[in-house]
């Protein structure tokens, strides 16, 4: 059987407003990425990534996220992430809120991403 290989990306989310922080949900994150993905890579890019993009872990308190994406398209996503600046406008009544990601770690398994978070958290503190 062919195994689907993934990349797991640990991110830190930086948000403009406390409001956004309260409403941080997987859909908000993926929406923001999709918007910018569409701008930069067009339909092909968004179509290749978006269906496979999922938020595996999200913590609103520590602002950490683990994304999962197919390995083939990981690079595209990684290039898009720095350009994400705002949430999708349709999400919050046509007002976009500023947001950006800091890519922390990229790994092949979720286990190593988790291990990274274990290592990283004390470092931040």
């Amino acid at each position: 059987m062919v195994r689907l290989k993934h990349r797991y990306i640990a991110l830190e989310v930086v948000m403009s407003k406390a409001f956004l922080k309260r409403n941080m949900k997987p859909k908000v994150i993926t929406g923001a990425i999709r918007m910018h993905l569409n701008n930069l890579y067009g339909e092909l890019g968004s179509a290749s990534i978006y269906p496979n993009l999922s938020v595996r872990y999200l913590n609103a308190h520590t602002n950490t996220i683990i994304l999962r994406v197919r390995r083939r398209f990981a690079e595209i996503l990684l290039t898009v992430l720095p350009f994400v600046t705002a949430t999708e406008s349709t999400e919050f009544k046509n007002t976009d809120h500023k947001i950006f990601f800091r890519t922390l770690y990229v790994s092949g398994t979720i286990r190593s991403a988790q291990k990274f978070l274990i290592r990283n958290n004390p470092l931040v503190l």
Binding site: S16, K21, N23, L58, I118, V124
Partner: protein, 966 residues
Amino acid sequence: MDNLKNTEKNDFPVADSKSSTSLKGTTQATDASDKLPESNVKSEIKSADEKKESSHLKKWKKRMRFQPKNVTLDPEKHEYYKDLLPDPKDDTFELPRAVPVAEYVEEAKKEVKAMLAAVKQHSGSKTALQTLPKHMRRRAASHNVKRLPIRLRELASQQMIPPSESSKTGEKVCRRKRRKKLALQNEYAKRAGNQGWLETHLWHSKRFHMTENSDKHYQHWSHRVSIYPNDKSFRACYRAVAKHCLIQDISYFHCVELTGSQINVKNMFKNMIQQHEHSSVFDDGVLSGKIEAEVMMCDLTCDKVICPVRILWQPKLEDNQDTISKHVVWCWIHPAPYKEATKVLEQLSTTHGVSTSDRTGDFNRFRFTGPKSSVTLMSTLQLIKVGEDLTSQNSAEHLSAKLSSWINENKDEVKKQQLDFSLTMLECHRCNFHKTHKQLTTRVCHGAVMSVLVNDPRLTLPLQKTKPTLKSTLSQEPSLLDASEVDDHEKSLEELPLSPKWKSEILEEVALSRLPDHVTSTRKNEAKFTLGEEKTKKLDSLATPVPVLLIRRSGIASHLKKPGFEGVAGGTEVTEGRSVHAGPPEDFGSGWDLILPKKWGTAFWIPFVYHRARAGGIRESEHSHLECKTPFFPRDFPDTGAGRKWWEAEMETNLKRHYSKPPAKRVNFSVMATPFPFSPDWDHIFLPLDGERESSLNVGSSPPLKQPVESKSELVLTENQNFATSFSTVTRKRSATSSDHDVIPSKKSKDSDITAMAVLRNKEKVATLRRLLSAGDFASAISLLESLTPPTLVCVQISPINRGTPSARAMLCAPSSDDFVELRREFEDLNGEGLKSCTGPVEPKHWDPYRKERKLATEQAKKRRKQKKKDEHAPLQSTNQKPHKFNVLPIRPIIGFVTSGDFLFSYASGGGVGFIAVDHLVSLLREQVTNNWLMQEFAKSAKPPIALMRLIDSTQYRFVSLHPTS
């Protein structure tokens, strides 16, 4: 983090100019945030790509079970600050001065913990060994944990414990263990208490349809009762009733014990039993305890009937008979109206100084029906030997001391009773089967009580099911054979049925003295291998005396055929040459009731079944009443509370069944002109025939009945007009003949509700009515009926003149004069077959007043569906109408209803029991008296009064002749 702080600060510039109150608010807010739960854990199941199927979802869940959950903030809980702000819409908010580091640390700690757990979690279904790469695996690692790397040892040692040990305390025990007898018994004992199981419940529940507690019909019965057997249909049970022996467990009847002096109890009964039944209750035989009386119990005012009650007095010896001494009376009450009945009993008992107690659980009551019940009882109930060796028997540890001492005291009495029992059974059996005795009627009257001491019937339990015959039973007791030959035995009906059963302390001991089944069966088996005296000794050691009461029941319809009340036709009935299909014989449904002490239920039940008594349930008694066309409680007692409840339940189930079908598959009762298809509406038949009936139904804005005449085809039109004119003439005639009579009930029914409804139950009146009708003396019958106070119903037996099978809820209608003309034409048609070719009239199709509404409703529903797609917030309106009644009245006015009916084996035709309003019956009779042909020619084949009957889902009317009954 610095970045974050900066940006946030930039976006929320601290408003120094703002009042200090806002600052206060912020500090409070930060304080409050500590108390609030920091995180709201929500599983992220519904992410966009995981919305496929449940199986996918399951797999997903399984995969993600060890993964840390998402941590989000609860927006609602974090909006607390909005209350503090002057303007709730404004959600800008100044940041706290300090960064809540401690909180952040807490959260980070939690996150790390969760991550650690996830990382540590050994995933999926792999064993510890399987997680290792192949080159690190060791063969002996499955036995020796130390072969594994340290990090896996803990996991491996957990996995090495065999699963059976780990789940020792677990919930699943294998089926074989669960089904072992002891475990089952324990479980049944646990369940029996709260479910209201009878002693024979387990036996029945394997073989019968049982009542459900959720079923409205049986909700108030407090017992789970068998309805009908699964193996055969009613026909088998009918055969048993007619020719063999049917056994039913009716222990669900409640037994209430009244204790008080005879006068007080008598006075009490005077207040709850109607005048015309006093003679049967205060009969000498009943008072002395020789006969069990069956009467209708009423409420305090003596006008509302509650239920039939069986009353049994405790016999007292002559010398004890004082007015002061305590008498004990048992009242056997049906479970359905039990609450109602006990209320009345309690109220009366307090005023009359009588104490009541419920003894329901203390007895078992089995009912034997059929001609062979006597011989079955005789062969199964082995009499206990009362002789000199009784003292040696007493040495057996299980025997009750009190009972044996009682036996020793009343040795002669017991012997007499036993002889009496055998002789009575013999006589009953011979009356049924022996040609020389057939003409004789038994001297054992209805309700006669016998008391016997019998042995444990399990000791004589045959290995295979055997049919008891008189010969075999007599051969066991040669002494009886001699006695039976001497025909003129001194019948000791004058003997009082003294029984130790009346003493509750003896009864307790008897209940305890029952040996367990396994003890009797093993000792019996041991005895098999010994011979001679040893054998009898061994069996004697098992013998246990059980006091039982036997109560005779004569046939179900026997009260209608009593010689005193017999009419001309009834009296000349020849039993020898009667047709097989001329209805049930006089003694149909006769038999015995057996009252046993508690705990002995199954010990007696199974031997009876082994003696080929067919077991039956409620359906059997219902049907055997129907075979005799006599009303059955509570179904055919619509004036009682229990009957009303029954019909309410019936209404509910019928409604449910009807509306569970799609609209196109339902019977359209409007077109059929069946206004009350779900349960009979007694109010309606008390309404006068003109005008008011329609107005009472036409509550809604439905078009009048006559609408279809224009729209329908010509044929229907002419037919309709024809009927309409004939109908109007009939009503005119009726109003002319009994104008003043028809008016009275209308006024009354307006004022009084259905509770005032009464049914003619006076047995003497009914009997005279039957006699008058069969003799053809209609004038006096009419005058008798008119003397009754309306609104009254008369219970009638329904016999179709040629075809048609009545069923419950069918309508009884008044025929028009044209119908009789048509009947005569068909009857006298030379090409036809006389009575056979007489078909009844047909109800024309009617206009459905709901039709328009229904169509509108479906259109609206369509529109709404469309709208809904556009606008989701459209309010939902349910226009689903589920009417209980239909606004369309048939052309022939409804004068009564059938409450139960079916095909009857004893008549080889349909038959049933129904109720008809007295004034309608009178007008029926009046009309038919004037019809000479009907009275003289046609009366030979069917006796008037003749009415029409129509089933709820048919338009065909059938002619039926009615006979009052009770």
